[in-house]
């Protein structure tokens, strides 16, 4: 009807809105950080100056123009290890969260929709898993499964699945009595259609926010597991392992072996957190509104 509704106009308007808004800006910065690391991960072979698993210079070398971040005790280039490390960190984090969501969301949908005893039992199980201290549970599972990318991802996935379950289940439980769902029933829609077309799109946005915070947490958990020796086996570049490895040499003033992996973990986590906080505030501006 009016030109205000043309797609390019709306996109332009949306972007400028995001920028002017404080939380929109926050989300954007977080996204920028994440994109940087994703680029690291994807294009590692083209960006990293050296092979991170091969001795490429003198050991214990501080940052020089050949090795911007210095080298490790085995002469590996720290910068290259950081860049390649992004692969592991992001891969495991995304995998873990994907599996957690794949378990939690469908179960949450069913549980919230069906209700009754089924819902109660499932909720109890999920609550039990949820109440376990996350890292402890991850350690226990990782110890059983052993090292390796898939195993680490699975151990982490288990502790996050209940979060998705709860968030989805609670929302479904309240939405299923909403008028538009009743309307869907009134026109004869089957349960499956109602779940997928009416309920799921309305509960998914809240998951997006949880996803992002989960990813931040997953990175830390993975780093924690590797730090304790339960994660990825060397010489695969892994921030957590490097952190653990480097701490031995801190007293000798070889700061670069610990600072750079540590900073990477922090910035990626920060990136996810900024993005999820900003996106959450931006999409749900009612959170923390000033007095009316």
């Amino acid at each position: 009807m009016k030109k205000e509704w043309s797609p390019s106009y709306r996109l332009g308007k949306a972007l400028s809105r995001v920028f002017k808004n404080k939380s929109g800006l926050m989300a954007f910065i977080g996204l920028a950080i994440l994109v940087t690391y994703i680029i690291f991960a994807v294009f590692a072979p083209y960006i990293a100056p050296y092979d991170p698993t091969v001795k490429s210079g003198p050991a214990y070398s501080p940052p020089t123009k050949d090795h911007w971040f210095g080298t490790t005790n085995l002469g590996y280039d720290v910068l290259s290890r950081i860049i390649y490390g992004a692969r592991i960190a992001l891969l495991i984090a995304f995998l873990a969260v994907a599996v957690a969501a794949a378990i939690g969301i469908p179960l949450g949908l069913l549980s919230g929709y069906i209700g009754g005893t089924f819902d109660r039992i499932l909720s109890m199980i999920m609550d039990a898993v949820y109440s376990f201290p996350g890292l402890v549970l991850a350690i226990a599972i990782a110890a059983v499964l052993g090292p390796g990318i898939i195993n680490v991802a699975l151990s982490i996935a288990v502790i996050y699945a209940p979060t998705y379950f709860r968030v989805i289940r609670n929302q479904v439980s309240s939405i299923k009595d909403d008028l538009f769902v009743e309307a869907a029933r009134a026109i004869g829609a089957r349960d499956r259609t109602i779940l997928l077309k009416y309920i799921l799109p309305n509960v998914l946005p809240s998951v997006i926010v949880v996803l992002s915070m989960n990813l931040a947490d997953a990175i830390m958990t993975e780093a924690g597991l590797s730090f304790l020796g339960l994660g990825i086996a060397p010489p695969t570049p892994d921030w957590g392992y490097d952190l653990s490895n480097g701490q031995r040499f801190l007293l000798l003033n070889y700061w670069w072996m610990i600072i750079f992996p540590g900073m990477s973990i922090i910035t990626v986590v920060l990136g996810f957190s900024l993005f999820s906080e900003g996106a959450n505030e931006y999409l749900n501006p009612n959170v923390g509104e000033t007095r009316r």
Binding site: R17, N21, T290
Partner: protein, 333 residues
């Protein structure tokens, strides 16, 4: 209708405009409103959703969000309350001007007993003992027809109609000079509504207050109001006595609105309605806000906002049809 002369009016709005910022831009909630009322008068402000009537009520009470801009002057008993520092305004609010809110379900604190609601309100404004405050609360509650021993109840223990009566009691307990009732009966059943209106009318007389009744229900103001202001799209489009508004409406919107309301006249089986929809206050059209729906629209209506025209001493229409020299004004009616 009006005791003429220079007595200080209870309330006088001069060119009041209210606008606030949302994510999508500025919303011009009210523009250039000029209206006044006497002490002990009942002023009805009618209009549909989004016309700015509630915003106006909130502006008078001073409870608009911080980012709202209010232009113009609001004189309460001769004093411009907009220019008052917030602290001073807070002393007036609740004591001299109070409000009855629309939704009694959410306006009362669910975890506070009724008596605490009253005590809090009273002690904020009056330096009295708790005992005295309780006495005042009891009187207010009995005035609205609720047993005083219900002061120990929580809001959820009362029905909707009773909660609304509590809201009225809370608004009146400090004997304000002006009460603003914002859609006080909208969420209530018809019979309960009749009860509440009865109570409001009686109490207004007894307490000698001025009352502003904000509503979209033209039946309600026909009962209660002395004078009526009609709002549309943020503008005050017509103001006059109740009789004039209903029997001799001047503004095309007022006329169309009155004709389009489903009535109970058995001999009137025709449904008339106004084409189109009320304007979006974020993208207000140029000129008169009603121009896109007006059956008597002229070219000038689309390009310039009509001025406030006083047909008689206390009769205002915001419409080009009534500008002297306008060809239509002679033929109209």
């Amino acid at each position: 209708m009006r005791p003429g002369g220079d007595f200080v009016k209870l309330l006088k709005l001069e060119n009041v405009s209210v606008k606030y910022k949302t994510r999508e831009g500025w919303v011009l909630a009210a523009e250039d409103v000029n209206i006044s009322m006497e002490k002990q008068e009942t002023l009805g402000i009618v209009g549909e959703s989004g016309c700015g009537k509630s915003t106006l009520g909130n502006a008078i009470l001073g409870i608009l969000p911080r980012e709202t801009i209010v232009d113009g002057k609001i004189f309460f008993n001769g004093e411009d309350i907009i220019s008052l520092p917030r602290k001073k305004f807070r002393m007036i609010r609740g004591k001299d001007i109070s409000m009855i809110f629309q939704d009694p379900m959410t306006s009362l604190n669910p975890v506070m007993k009724l008596k605490h609601h009253f005590i809090e309100t009273i002690l904020t404004h009056k330096d009295v003992s708790k005992e005295e405050a309780l006495n005042m609360a009891e009187k207010a509650l009995t005035d609205v027809g609720i047993n005083a021993d219900r002061l120990n109840d929580y809001p959820f223990q009362l029905s909707g109609g009773m909660r609304q009566r509590v809201m009225i009691a809370l608004a009146l307990v400090l004997n304000p000079k002006l009460v603003i009732a914002d859609e006080p009966t909208t969420s209530l059943d018809v019979i309960v509504q009749a009860q509440i209106l009865n109570i409001l009318k009686g109490l207004q007389k007894e307490y000698n207050m001025g009352m502003i009744l904000i509503t979209h229900d033209l039946g309600v103001v026909a009962e209660v109001a002395d004078n009526i202001g009609v709002m549309y799209g943020g503008h005050l489009v017509e103001y006059s006595t109740k009789m004039n508004i209903y029997k001799d409406p001047k503004h095309p919107y007022t006329k169309a609105l009155l004709e389009s309301i489903p009535n109970t006249d058995i001999n009137d089986r025709e449904l008339t309605f106004i084409e189109g929809y009320p304007p979006d206050l974020m993208s207000v059209p140029e000129g008169c806000r009603f121009s896109d729906r007006c059956p008597k629209v002229m070219d000038i209506c689309k390009s310039s906002t009509p001025p406030d025209i006083f047909i008689e001493e206390n009769r205002l229409v915001k419409c080009w049809l009534y500008k002297e020299g306008s060809a239509q004004s002679a033929n109209d009616n």
